[in-house]
Subunit: 300 residues, 2 copies
């Protein structure tokens, strides 16, 4: 089944302790859509400027993304510059140039409006609402967010939560959203805000799924070297939703395996800058690492 | 089979954001020995002063610890004071009074010298050597350590590592020991220092076992409230070694399950101050939580 992905499509300039890479293909929707495409057909919603390199459009096409919903506007593509610290866990934003993203209105092509699986990638909650308003009875809506929206658009985000099936956020965001220091205590508080499923990302420490069947602790793949974690969270969400869309049967029964597939995808994402590792990746690679991850947590 | 536990036996004065508890029973050997006693007979090696409360000796006896190796000396019992920050992850030492621990020589009673399972709890590496020197062919020796010994006794610790089967340490200590920022990269470097098995503790994020059969990622039990994490690492090591000592068959085959039992034990330890939760605990409780932990990581 189809996956609709909305979010940012951007150029990322990334500095790590070892290297610097200017104007890579980035943005929450780019990472999530490419990740989901390993499992299911993807409809992309985003906006780029007239400086968006042709080779990046070709990259999207290589992954067979439906680009009918990718707007091209006069002006500059959203450009993010960031820098990672030596441990690769902490990053700081050096510069954000919104460009054509400033007036982005994610209007969906008619063919997108019946998408059964929907990823509201990390963009302003107002835009996430705008996408939801145009959809006809999606089967499963997963929303991502970030600390920025908790700071500047919390009321919009709180209105969004009862409208989505699942919220994915990282541990510090779970604390910020609830005001609770303990992530395990924060989870029921997030459920009370609306979503039936809550997924808390903990980076190298894995992730936690909470739903009607209780908790599931998903591992992260143990990487001895992280080259660039940019997009890891987006690819995790995209991979898990793509996997869900590809599986028959009740979502509840597929969700745990979906998190492990997402973790496998995200681990590959960290192995090179931007989407470089993704372009060499196969679904067989992902399935193999997913099996490896499952055996890493088995006691027998 | 028997477990020999050596380490500190202390009085702990603990401050958390909510409460303050003076002169609790503490020390690495106390926590580890009580934890191991849920699974196997335990021989305790330690030293206390003449101020050591009778009720704490009774507590040891309640857990059927063999106290033949617990020396009682004129002077004061080792006293540690520490304070936890609001997130319960960071602690700082307020005061350390060594007392009779200053001249501690862990001389083993004859009946202890054939112990098959040995936990060299967190004490000076010189004392860990001294215990090893007195043992006759132990089957499995697990050593614990802490940042203090990496700072002031690293050469002794490096001489110890080839003499033990397994080293347990936390993630920041793994980084400090190897100079490597990535824990997964640090693990093979620690193996090269000697131990066949390396166990890296990550607190609420679980632990990693590395051995000839590769890696195992053990979960931590998701606690919505941590009252006092003091002794969690010691009880984890004690619980896992006690479980190992209680199981027939090759150690390699039991180790993964041993880590999960250790994690279950450690989670109970965090639910109250000092050994308060332990005194109300049953082996059935531990086994139930171990099963719960295993199901929290299962995908089907």
């Amino acid at each position: 089944m189809n996956v609709l992905v909305v979010g940012s499509t951007a150029l990322d300039s990334i500095k790590t302790p070892l290297r610097e890479k200017p104007r890579l293909l980035g943005g929450s929707a780019s990472h999530a859509a490419v990740a989901a495409s390993f499992f299911a057909p993807v409809q992309l919603v985003g906006v780029v400027g007239d400086d968006f390199p042709r080779r990046y459009l070709n990259l999207f096409l290589k992954f067979k993304l439906n680009l009918e919903g990718l707007q091209r506007r006069p002006g500059k593509t959203f450009h993010w510059s960031g820098e990672y610290e030596i441990n690769m866990n902490n990053r700081r934003t050096l510069k954000t140039e919104l460009g054509v993203f400033e007036d982005f209105q994610p209007d969906l092509p008619e063919s997108y409006r019946r998408a059964p699986f929907v990823l509201l990638g990390n963009i302003a909650p107002k835009l996430q609402h705008h996408v939801l308003d145009q959809l006809r009875k999606p089967r499963f809506v997963l929303a991502d967010t970030m600390d920025l929206w908790l700071n500047i658009a919390k009321p919009d985000l709180l209105r969004l939560l009862p409208r989505v099936d699942a919220l994915v956020l990282n541990d510090s965001e779970a604390r910020q959203l609830t005001g609770l220091d303990n992530v395990i205590a924060a989870i029921p508080a997030i459920h009370r805000l609306g979503p039936r499923y809550v997924i808390v990302k903990k980076g190298e420490h894995g992730s936690i799924l909470s739903g009607p069947k209780g908790l599931f602790l998903a591992p992260a793949f143990p990487l001895a070297k992280v080259v660039d974690p940019t997009g890891a969270g987006d690819s995790f969400a995209g991979g898990l939703l793509g996997y869900l869309a590809s599986q028959p049967g009740p979502i509840e029964l597929n969700l745990r395996r979906a998190l492990v597939h997402g973790a496998a995808v995200a681990s590959y994402w960290c192995e090179d800058f931007g989407l470089a590792r993704a372009t060499k990746l196969t679904t067989a690679d992902i399935n193999r690492r997913t099996r490896d991850l499952m055996s890493l947590t088995r006691t027998t």
